[in-house]
């Protein structure tokens, strides 16, 4: 499999007045097409910053980042928007669903933005097991159900790259396992690349590759020769 994502000397600084915080110190990593990658690290290690940069919602201070042949570091605002629209799906820790739209409508909204999706909103809702809650608003659903809607919304775009920021962070163990199961299915069934940021080491067991961050540096990159399926992990 070819590298679909590669970062070289990637650096990110946050400047707040005279205070400069370096969130990433010249990191290098790559991700192969169809890989399930887990970025692991404690709070403040730079993992979410890295994910946001990969997703094109955070700019790069210096270094290079390529997605396929696209030089992300050279893209302007509209280029990043097009990149997100065409290639990237996002799942957040706190779901970020539209509060005034039902579960089904949240998915339909994303479909309206990416009409070339191979699946209908109803199919996606069914795929995440929420056919009974399709008409419910986010405030009427549990965290796990909301996260499933967020997954359906992300998947409906049929993204090449699915980015997940602490997807199970706000969920209980069982629900979190179900969510990981869904992500893994998406990765295996459709051959799509998934990158998940987490501080839960157990999730790392389902990954093909684990990138460990600490204090803005990559501490370790390890390849899982035999990744487990979500149901095999002792959560």
């Amino acid at each position: 499999m070819k590298d679909i994502l590669s970062a070289r000397n990637l650096k990110k600084q946050f400047v707040n007045g005279e205070v400069v915080v370096e969130a990433l110190h010249s990191v290098d990593f790559s991700v192969k097409e169809g890989e399930f990658v887990v970025i692991l690290g404690p709070s403040g290690s730079g993992k979410s910053t890295a994910l946001n940069i990969i997703g094109g919602i955070e700019d790069i201070t210096s270094g290079e980042l390529f997605y396929d042949n696209i030089a992300i570091h050279e893209l302007g605002k509209s280029g990043l928007t097009a990149y997100r629209r065409k290639h990237v799906g996002f799942i957040f820790q706190f779901y970020n669903l539209m509060p005034n739209l039902s579960a089904l409508e949240n998915v339909q909204l994303a479909l309206e933005l990416s009409p070339e999706s191979p699946m209908s909103a109803e199919e996606l809702i069914r795929a995440v097991g929420l056919e009974d809650r399709a008409g419910n608003f986010p405030a009427q659903m549990s965290g796990g159900q909301q996260q499933r809607v967020a997954i359906a919304r992300a998947l409906c775009k049929n993204p090449d790259l699915l980015l997940c920021d602490e997807p199970t962070g706000a969920l209980d163990t069982k629900t979190g396992a179900d969510v990981i199961d869904l992500l893994q299915n998406f990765n295996r069934q459709y051959g799509k690349t998934v990158i998940a940021v987490t501080h839960n080491e157990k999730i790392a067991r389902v990954a093909d590759k684990v990138i460990c961050f600490r204090d803005g540096n990559i501490e370790d990159i390890r390849i899982n020769e035999h990744p487990l399926s979500a149901s095999e992990v002792d959560w």
């Binding site: 928007t81 997100r84 629209r85 706190f94 970020n96 005034n100 309206e112 775009k157």
Partner: protein
Amino acid sequence: MKMFFKNVLRTILKNKFSYIGVILILSMGIMVYVTMAEYLDGMQAAADLYYERTNFADVFAVVEQMPETDVADLQAIEGVKEAAGRLEGDVRWLTEDSSDSIVSIHLMGWEENAAVNRIYLWPEDSSPSGNEIYLSRAMAEAHGLEYGDTITVIAGGRLQDLVYSGDAATPECMSIVPDSSVEAPDYTTYDMAAMEKGALEKLLGREHVVNHIGLTLQPGVTFSDIKYNIEAKLREYGLYDLSARKNNAGFYAVQSEIDSMRNIQKIIPTIFMAVSIFLLYVMLKKMIDKDRTLIGMMKAFGATNREIISVYIMQGFIIGLLGGILPIPAAEAAGNYLLVDDALYYNLPLLEDFTFSVSRIASGIGISVFSGVLSILIAMLDVLRINPADSMKSAVPGGFNIAIPPRLATILNTRQKISLRSIFRAPLRNLIIAIAIAFPFSMIVVCSCFSEGIVDTLEGQYTLVETGDLKVTLAEFADKSRAEGAIRSLSGVTGGEAMAEYDIRITAGGRSGYSSLKVVEPNSECRKIMDNRGKFYEPPEDGILMNAHAARKLGIQAGDVIEINSFRLTGEKGKAGVPVLGLVEESSGGCCYISPDGLRRYFAVPEASNVLSLIVEDGAKAEVRQQLAGMKNVLFVSDNEQMAALMVEALSTLVVLMQGLAFFSVVAGAVMIYHIVNISIIERQNEFGTLMVLGMSSREIDEVVTFEQTINLVVGILLALPMIKFLSGAVVSAVETSGISFNINITPQYYLLAFAVILPVFAITIRSILRLIRRIVLTEVLKGRE
């Protein structure tokens, strides 16, 4: 709760512009309220004090003449407390420019210790004697006179020099016109003056008689209780007019203005305050909703509702206090300006300083604080009802689950569909924005329509009704054919008519009142009869047409037969039954109309005239005035063009007030639109952030917001339509108390004007909101819970 309060304070500082907006809106409501209260309370207090110090009469009578010794007999009438008579009469003043201008003075006999209707004099403790004359301050100033200057008057065909020695005022003359043919006071050409009683009697050649009588009544006695007894007593002296205080010209002019303003005060500031409170509630509710989680957390920690409420009440109290205190200096200044301006117009002396009232200021601040606290309490109701666990979650939307119709769905693009869905799901949020648009829109339409409508109506009186150029009021009735001959003899006059106006007493169905009967030629060139919708009427010969306002006061309807009694038409005790053929809803006035043939039919009097209406060649007015100045029987000449301007000036306070309200509405509207849209967008930052992450470009987000807000604009304008109807009806009925009736004709240009004002405000708001959205930091907004 100290730290919780600190957190709320910091939130206020963080959202300082929103809070400044809330305070500003509240301030505007209070400013309008206090300004009008200051002005109206001041006017009323000044007028009341004036009435008290002059012992203003409860009943006024005008007779041909009455021996002064008979006046005391009036006190014998049951219910009469005091009676006083006074000789009054008009004289011509030969001013320096009298070759082309006619100035007349209404002289009143001054008597020390007059029981009723005392004349107020300046300098205080001075009194006129011999050939001294005390003029109204407005007239003296208009002619640049100083104490000691000599003026020359013509009385009884003789020239007499008088020395201007002081100023005089009386409540009866707060709005003085020579007779009912002149509709607006012009203090440069006609006003009151006072002379010592004996000196005036000599000047007018009428000794020991009075012609104006004032009566005060015993407590609990009303005019209607004693009206018929007084009429019976005075009829033998040639009674022209008998009226209660409320119908006295001076009192009526001031009181009707105060009353119509009071009506407007009830409507406009109430609307302002209602809108202020509503918006305050909306803004605070939005702000408290943002604290939903915080409140839930405080509850989870064991804080009681009372403890939480107390923190927010303090917030409402501070907002209310600031909103109440900040506008007070400007409101007091504006109210005082209106008061002084109006008092000057009405010759109403401000005998005491009425500019500061603790209770008025306290009530303004009190209303503001009450509004702030009440808004907070209502805004908190929902939040306080929920349990801590629920408060940690977002609220379930309460909108309508309306699907976009398929046909519409094919027309709309994705962004427009998102906008539409957002509107359906949060109808209240969008309704509030629409109301924020509708309020200033309707106020601009009504206030601008009102100002132009009333000016058009009053000007129309002199372009469509009084179509002559100059109107001449004669001192005495003259033979009609001689009057017509005089018109023909005037050089520079191309046409004109000799008309007559008679003071009449009308009795119908047990009620009686005083009016005037205008004798108008059919197809008259100079005087039309027109209602406030622009329909013209011809003077009838088999009855009369009557002003609808005057008819309503006497309970008269079209088809009724009324009794007319007039010293000149029927003699002292005679009366004639005349049918009322129709009622005319005129924009002003209160008289009746008949044709010369009709007059002959019902009243056996020779044809006479006391008013001439002249059509003058272009540029020949001065020449005509010069000729009229040489005619002894000419009392007053009014230029219809000037009269229109004076009529407009008479209502200038109201017009300025309405324009001021329109301005305030725009400012309040701009603040409202900006803040409500702003708050609604801020609370949706997460939503927009998500759309951006899903791949929507800034331009597409702009389209979503612009489409949504454009729909709000359209709904706002549609909502404004019923508001305009309500407001215009309320304002028209409020103004009717001042004797002016008009229709607000809302033409498309007013909607365009309102649209032209609102659109830039709206566009600037949307533009700044879009900039705000572009500044959204995705990583920040998507980190938090929605």
